[in-house]
Amino acid sequence: MKKSQDSASTGNDRAITRIVTNLPIVQEDAATDSVARSYANYRERFGRPDVPSILKCFATHPPLLEQMIALPSNLLFNEGHLPRRVKEMIATYVSALNDCPYCLDSHASFLRTQGGSDELLTALSNGKLEVPSISAKERQLLSFVRKVTNESYKVTPDDIRELNDVDWTQLQIAEATHITALFAFFNRVANTFGLPSQHRLDLDPASTNSKDN
């Protein structure tokens, strides 16, 4: 398939990179009407100089673009039942499990802004979670996240009980599940449209997911 040209609007390398995507996305300088308004609102709301490429993947369907800005704003980019740091740990880990270099790089970067160490970022990206920067409680939640990602149909009440036993509340488990599912969506869209890593960080998702739970 012929790939379309995209000026990669990553927030920090706009001027230097042009990426090639599998499917056409709506560039900022080509946006009109409601898409242009949504892009402007996004830049203003998040204080970013440009719009991330993942959102441009939804701009071919303007009503969808609005919702794909609103949903993560309410679910991910805030303190909820789970702290923002844990949310970004989940986003990073799921993106590694799904082999999505674009989302892995983006959310590992966000995790870094939440205090994530090199050790933590590396552990999440290569799937080796037995490190001091991940607590036993967090590790158990991430194991659950892996099961939801790979084999959600195998989740049982015992999985919930085990998380309750280490003091994850049902509301936190519900939120972790929502974020995991949200990234199943983002990861598949980013990979199918062909968004490459922005290389904010030097991380490699390869071989993270053994599908073993």
């Binding site: 009503p63 959600s152 149909y153 049902q170 488990i173």
Partner: protein
């Protein structure tokens, strides 16, 4: 009184199921409880967090129901097929039921879910009308529970829910045309 109600298993997250917030989904659940009627169990999830539910329902509505280069029937078929690949029986049957209504061909839907390669989908693509059908799925709900029309096979409960509730799990932003009446009893 809906006499076809089937007892549903409790959800894994009971705290979610037992704490609906004020919203249309809680109203629907309460109505079902009061009347002894049936309901989509996913409404518990939506009633638990109405703000998130609003965005999820809007997203689903935009993708599945608004004008698109893909017909409504094909979108529902994709949803059913993907849910099958993900081993999610609830979503698979719910969307298979809607797809069957829209496409007017439950056998086609099952042939895709059972084996895409050997399905009759390719034949349908060659100019046959079903996959191009753009009608609102409510318009195809031509039968009430008293006169359910052709007896459903593997989708029995989901087709019953669609016809009885006249609502698919998320379809609250665009209510079905309730003026439509059963062609048999005109109710």
């Amino acid at each position: 009184m809906n006499t076809l109600k089937v007892a549903q298993k409790p959800m894994y997250l009971r705290e979610v199921e037992e704490n609906p917030k004020p919203c249309v989904y809680r109203d629907l659940l309460e109505n079902a409880e009061t009347s002894g009627g049936d309901y989509w169990q996913i409404w518990h999830l939506l009633a638990f967090d109405p703000e998130a539910a609003h965005h999820l329902a809007a997203l689903s509505h935009t993708l599945m129901h608004k004008p698109s280069p893909l017909s409504s029937g094909l979108r529902e078929l994709i949803a059913a097929y993907t849910s099958s690949l993900n081993n999610c029986e609830f979503c698979m049957k719910a969307h298979a039921a809607v797809a069957s209504q829209l496409l007017g061909d439950e056998a086609l839907v099952w042939s895709v879910i059972d084996n895409l390669e050997t399905s009759t989908l390719g034949h349908k693509r060659e100019g046959a009308p079903p996959l191009r059908a753009e009608s609102h799925f409510g318009a195809s709900l031509n039968h009430c529970s008293r006169h359910p029309g052709p007896q459903p096979g593997r989708l029995g409960r989901c087709l019953h829910l669609l016809r009885n509730l006249r609502l698919c799990p998320f379809q609250l932003l665009q209510p079905l045309d309730l003026r439509q009446r059963c062609p048999s009893c005109k109710r």
